[in-house]
């Protein structure tokens, strides 16, 4: 009888201990659900893959270093193969799971899901910097300056640094899609508003393996500068053909030769790997710090990549930095909302992002300038750094710039 009593008491004790531990486990922090859909496989996965790794690593880092205290971020990353239909499916799944913020990727899907974002009233950080994302939209926040702003800023750079008499004659080499075409109209508007250059031709590239005819045509029209807005591989093909034909300028703006420039997705280490020596002197705009220019930010970026076992290619990719950057902005928004005593939900994160300006601007280590958002400005980093390929790496050229004409044509 006594044994039975002891057994009963022991059982009670075990149950009590179990409850105590369970209670401790439940007393842990809250979990904030985020969702990300991007092209890890399929078209543009060369950019999407390191981008996903950047986001994944930074959120791991946030949770491991208890950046949000006991609270953690659970960000599900799914592949959409660059297809809007699959992106929509992923987005619906995330909504079912109760996400508080959404990270998207392509221009097509960001435009395609714009109405859903509005209806759901959820803040979205895409990897697409298409200016059209902001039209009739309140919830899409571009991480950096739009492609339009980048192309216009690059055009201004061409005009300011033009070598030779008269107007700078330029050709645009663009992706055959809305992503490529979007900024061209803004560049034309800038010219109409007084930007002293002549747009001789707008070339929509196909899947050409040889650009000789196109390059010779541009030469026959006295084009001096070719501004690209596409992805790396067609630019690499063009640069290699130009180099083979001896058409590439030896120095910036060399008369009778072609000087090549491009915006965000045309450059980076992948371009150097694809084009080799042919990309020497290529001028590129980007709002991110590059690991070829050592500073505190790039050291942290490389340390993060090392911590999570990423290879050199991913670690040094500006797309890896871009992936980290959106995770940084999302984390910062959560952090600020928490500090303000707000509940972490879609509405409060949206409000917090809109308050990220002036003294409250946020400076992540991945970008060359602060991220600022407001109800009227939803492009994050407004500054652009000009880089140029020197000795097989992108090196800074001067101080960060900002477009003057974008404000005039808006």
């Amino acid at each position: 009888m006594k044994n039975k009593k002891v057994l009963f008491l022991n059982a009670l004790l075990v149950i009590a201990v179990m409850f105590a531990f369970t209670a401790t486990a439940n007393a842990g922090g809250k979990v904030y659900k985020l969702g990300m859909s991007l092209a890890i496989t399929g078209p543009t996965s060369d950019a999407g893959n390191p981008y996903a790794k950047g986001t994944e690593d930074y959120f791991k880092f946030v949770n491991e270093t208890k950046m949000l205290g006991d609270d953690t971020i659970d960000c599900t990353i799914r592949d959409d193969q660059y297809k809007t239909d699959i992106t929509k499916r992923n987005f619906e799944e995330y909504l079912d799971e109760g996400i508080v913020m959404y990270l998207n990727y392509s221009t097509g899907s960001t435009l395609g899901l714009k109405r859903d974002f509005e209806e759901e009233k959820i803040a979205v950080l895409p990897a697409s910097y298409h200016a059209g994302n902001l039209d009739d939209s309140n919830y899409i926040f571009l991480p950096v300056a739009s492609y339009s702003e980048q192309l216009v800023a690059l055009s201004e750079y061409v005009v300011k640094n033009h070598k030779g008499e008269g107007k700078a004659k330029v050709a645009f080499f663009i992706h055959p899609s809305a992503f490529g075409r979007g900024p061209v109209d803004d560049a034309k508007k800038a010219v109409a508003a007084g930007l002293n250059m002549e747009i001789v031709e707008v070339v929509e590239h196909g899947k050409d393996l040889d650009n000789s005819a196109m390059l010779k045509r541009l030469m026959s029209k006295d084009v001096q500068y070719v501004l690209s807005h596409t992805v790396q591989s067609p630019v690499a093909t063009m640069l290699k053909d130009s180099s083979r034909l001896g058409l590439t300028a030896g120095s910036y703006g060399e008369a009778g030769k072609l000087t090549f420039l491009g915006v965000h997705y045309t450059g980076g280490n992948d371009l150097i790997a694809l084009a080799g020596d042919a990309c020497k002197g290529y001028v590129w705009t980007c709002s991110f710090n590059l690991t070829s220019e050592k500073n505190d930010g790039t050291t942290k970026q490389l340390a993060l990549a090392k911590k999570y076992g990423r290879d050199d290619k991913a670690a040094n990719s500006h797309n890896y930095a871009a992936g980290i950057m959106v995770a940084q902005v999302a984390t910062e928004a959560i952090k600020r909302a928490k500090a303000a005593g707000l509940e972490i939900n879609k509405e409060n994160l949206y409000t917090t992002l809109n308050g990220m300006n002036g003294k409250n601007g946020y400076s992540p280590y991945t970008t060359i300038g602060p991220v600022t958002y407001s109800k009227t400005d939803r492009a994050g980093v407004d500054m652009l750094q000009i880089y140029s390929v020197q000795d097989g790496a992108f090196k800074k050229v001067g101080q960060p710039i900002q477009s003057e004409y974008m404000t005039k044509i808006k």
Binding site: I40, T41, G112, P176, A178
Partner: protein, 364 residues
């Protein structure tokens, strides 16, 4: 006719009328009715997530499209590798209305059933035009003609500013008798609509095949000269096969536009055309139930391969690049395996299973 109307173990037809019955036995009819009740009833009992409903709706739309492809390729024997373009014609018919009169116009939001039917007729008109080369061309040459249509369609959509150069054209939310169909009910609402369309069109094909117009499709497929000698018009038959196929595709396109509340170019590319063809082959060309099996099998295979690639990505981060190849590899492998080992598709497994149960418990 068998004396037992519930269990017929053989063919006992004494009149053509008996043979043309939609259901051979009362048991068939009962099973079908029960199955239909379940299909229409389960969303009222169980609540699925929006994502799952979207997947199911998407499969049902693919079924409508594959029905059309099966009419022209399976029943009439005319290879079409531009079927996604016909689906696109339907979707862009809705999109054109949205661009012209606004996506919240009453025609878009209230008269959507009429617009879906109209989109079907647009698909039929384009189908008839694209089918004209079938008067002169056969086999591979005809396939190239349909490929040309696919290319022309892609080019036009991708470059015309009226079509937003392929970027999404939004479609407004529709109204039902209960009011505006909101986000919460969107996918369930379209499930019922698309399922109704599938049932109506399914019966349409079933009945068509019992008429001389349907039989002439099969006759032309098997031997168009013999069909000609029998008094049929092979040329006209081929053109109307394309027109019918276009109608089904157009309806599928319009449903796609309403389901996704937008029309974008990338849903109607050559890759999608190949996908529809794969669904028709895997399901079983020239069979009605193959139109159901194919989309279900291919769409679920897609989902499973996606999950597999994702799982591989978690354990082997470097396998992300391998994952890129996993989907097209699996897709291609399945088609090759079906063509090699089961050219009659899943529909043949269904036939075998049915004939087994029909004779059960006897072996023959």
């Amino acid at each position: 006719m068998s004396a037992n109307k519930w269990l017929a173990t053989g063919n006992f037809f004494t009149t053509y009328k008996q043979e043309q019955r939609t259901f051979l036995t009362n048991l068939d009819q009962s099973f079908f009715t029960f199955f239909l009740v379940i299909l229409f009833g389960w969303p009222l009992l169980f609540e699925l997530s929006n994502k799952s409903m979207l997947v199911i709706d998407n499969i049902l739309i693919a079924i409508v499209a594959v029905m059309g492809l099966n009419l022209v390729t399976g029943f009439a024997g005319l290879i079409s590798i531009g079927h996604a373009a016909f689906v696109g014609i339907g979707a862009y018919t809705v999109a054109s209305f949205c661009r012209t009169i606004g996506d919240s116009h009453i025609i878009i939001t209230h008269f959507w059933p009429l617009l879906i039917i109209f989109s079907g007729f647009m698909g039929a008109a384009f189908g008839a035009v694209v089918g004209l080369p079938a008067l002169r061309l056969k086999h591979l040459y005809l396939a190239i003609a349909t490929l040309s249509f696919q290319m022309i369609f892609q080019w036009v959509i991708n470059f015309m500013s009226f079509f937003n150069q392929g970027q999404t054209i939004f479609v407004g939310r529709v109204f039902w008798f209960t009011g505006k169909v909101g986000r919460k009910d969107h996918y369930v609402f379209w499930y019922f609509v698309i399922l109704t369309v599938v049932v109506i069109l399914g019966f349409g094909i079933r009945n068509l095949l019992k008429t001389r117009y349907g039989r002439s499709l099969i006759a032309v497929r098997d031997n168009d000269r013999a069909a000609d000698a029998m008094g049929m018009n092979p040329g006209l038959t081929k053109v109307y096969a394309f027109a019918l196929s276009g109608f089904f595709a157009g309806v599928a396109g319009a449903l796609h536009a309403y389901l996704y509340r937008g029309v974008g170019f990338e849903s109607f590319t050559l890759h999608e055309s190949i996908g529809y063809l794969a669904m028709a082959i895997v399901g079983g060309l020239g069979t009605l139930n193959g139109c159901f099996w194919g989309p279900v099998a291919i769409k679920f295979l897609d989902l499973k391969v996606e999950s597999l690639a994702e799982l591989a990505g978690q354990y082997l981060p470097s396998s992300m690049n391998l994952a890129t190849a996993l989907k097209p590899f699996t897709f291609g492998l399945v088609i090759v395996l079906f063509l090699m080992y089961e050219p009659r598709g899943i529909a043949n497994w269904w036939r075998i299973a049915k004939s087994y149960t029909k004779m059960w418990p006897f072996r023959y």
